[in-house]
Symmetry: C2
Subunit: 337 residues, 2 copies
């Protein structure tokens, strides 16, 4: 592998070419502890000690999932990695590697792509993971948006995978991580503000509770998913997959709004109900899980409700999720089209 | 998982929504023999009996890698899968699963996406592989091009991975599969013709010699890669990674042009040198490998040269690759930017 030449200020994807881009990105990718064959060959080869591999894929489109004027390149790298690493954690696994498919305009500054690679590497490093492969191509003629497709691989370390389909009546519903912070940060940025910092930072770089995933599996979680579309929406997916009702407690969920914290602060300044962000804001990548009633909840999980028998769905204090969301002036979650 | 409702003629991604698209695509994805958890959860879980997993990623952009007026949706699915499955084969592995990241305009007909899924499933089925996961999002505002990012996973079945870096002086250079057929088909389509069928079909649906990859590994191949950028370009990558010279025989390569076949026929009709397609045409996904001189070449491999000591590069009858390509009126291979 040739080393990247020194960065010239005006370098773009077009001026350094595909292999120049790859050299620069690979130089910042870090090293995956599990890699047998790393970047630069037809494919990567990774150790899968469990003899099963977990694989998740998320696509981020500029102008929809990030904006270059709202987020630095490093932010975008952190966010793209986090969305995928959280999916791996939500199965009860630990991440081992990322592969990145990138379509970008020929005029994209290489410095921006290097920043994305740096952000991804930083998000992966605590796990011993890294980007081990990918592909870089020019966008379609006339398109000036970057598309990032990230695939994360992970190892279950002997655990049974925790799917969305195992919740049973009588189970406890619990959540680990933040709810509503990313949506709150988005509301701030959309109005042209950049503070409070905590909210904006949460939108730019979500902080999924990665360790809570394997911990939940070890504690006997019966079902789990990450909250990427919003709590009510993702609870609905889990309820559908399990064939159960998730009955959530509004008072407990309201307690996710710290009266002295950014959600209350921003809601007071901009108007709006912070509980709406908690219930319908996605992209914080909290982990939603169900546990047998007798289980000790692992550190970080807060009990927010119970699983009941009935036509699959989500209730908040007995009210259907769609009606709760409408009452808060929100849809039930992120809509991709 | 809810079943897709019957197809209405005018359905688009926007009209059925993200989950409608996913239902329809999943219904056509087939089943991966290695799947423990298939589509519909946060992540898929696959058996990796070898305790290592092979992972490759390729991105296809509409208008660059395919055109909807030149290729059917099924063709695009076949081609996108083939590009990735060939990368897995080039490591000496067999494919187990695909993950697909898709960004498409909201107006994309769902029937087109179903066709892509059908094509991918058909290309995967002989291997027992299938699409096990992915993500579907709307393109950036104003972009009307589809971006498909495909990640393929594979299993080495106990073989050592064959990288690009193991070729040694004295080795034999050999290739399995077609050379130049896809480029010939592209030349036909670009002129507005649709025959000869064999050439056009080769461009629309490459036929990589998948079984030759594991067979080469079993026969002791010292290095291998797939020919996606063109023979001279990919031989150059292998030569660079191995630190050797690949000395190819022009007469043998000329024999890849069957005087009664489509390359000769199209070259005669449209002008041009068919040897240019053989040496610089990519996307047929032939497998280029090196073997110890004493090895028996596996079925399908044709000896095309020898590995020599020297400054890394590719020679054809002693002439540098770049000069050979220039003499044929071609660059050395596909340039992505």
């Amino acid at each position: 592998m040739t080393r990247p030449r020194p960065q010239a200020a005006g370098d773009t994807v077009a001026s350094v070419g595909e292999f120049g881009v790859i050299d620069r990105v690979v130089a910042r990718a870090g090293t995956a502890a599990a890699a047998v064959v790393g970047p630069g060959d037809d494919a990567a080869v990774l150790r899968a000690p469990d003899s099963r591999v977990v694989a998740a894929c998320d696509v981020l489109v500029e102008g929809r999932h990030f904006r270059r004027d709202w987020s630095s390149a490093e932010d975008v790298g952190h966010k793209a990695a986090a969305a995928n690493l959280a999916d791996v954690a939500a199965m009860g696994a630990v991440p081992t590697a990322l592969l990145v498919g990138l379509a970008c305009p020929a005029g994209t500054p290489t410095a921006w792509l290097e920043g994305v690679a740096t952000g991804m590497a930083a998000e992966c490093r605590p796990h011993g993971a890294a980007v081990v492969g990918g592909d870089t191509v020019a966008s379609a003629p006339g398109s000036d948006a970057v598309v990032l497709s990230v695939t994360a691989l992970g190892d279950l370390q002997g655990r049974a995978p925790v799917t969305r389909g195992g919740a049973r009546p009588g189970d406890v519903v619990a959540v680990a991580g933040r709810l509503g912070w990313s949506a709150c940060g988005w509301a701030v940025l959309r109005r042209g503000f950049t503070s409070p910092h905590a909210a904006v930072a949460a939108h730019r770089r979500p902080e999924p509770p990665y360790a809570a995933g394997p911990a939940a599996a070890d504690a006997g979680a019966t079902a789990m998913c990450d909250v990427s579309d919003g709590l009510l929406a993702d609870a609905g997916h889990l309820a559908d997959a399990s064939g159960v009702v998730l009955h959530l407690d509004r008072g407990t969920l309201a307690s996710f709004v710290d009266p002295a914290g950014p959600l209350a602060q921003v809601a007071a300044a901009l108007g709006g109900n912070p509980l709406g962000w908690v219930l319908t804001g996605g992209e914080d990548h909290a982990l939603l899980a169900t546990f047998p009633a007798a289980a000790d909840l692992p550190a970080g999980f807060v009990r927010i409700g119970v699983v009941e028998d009935g036509a699959p769905g989500v209730l908040v204090d007995g009210v259907a999720a769609a009606d709760v969301a409408e009452g808060l002036g929100e849809g039930t979650g992120h809509v991709h089209f």
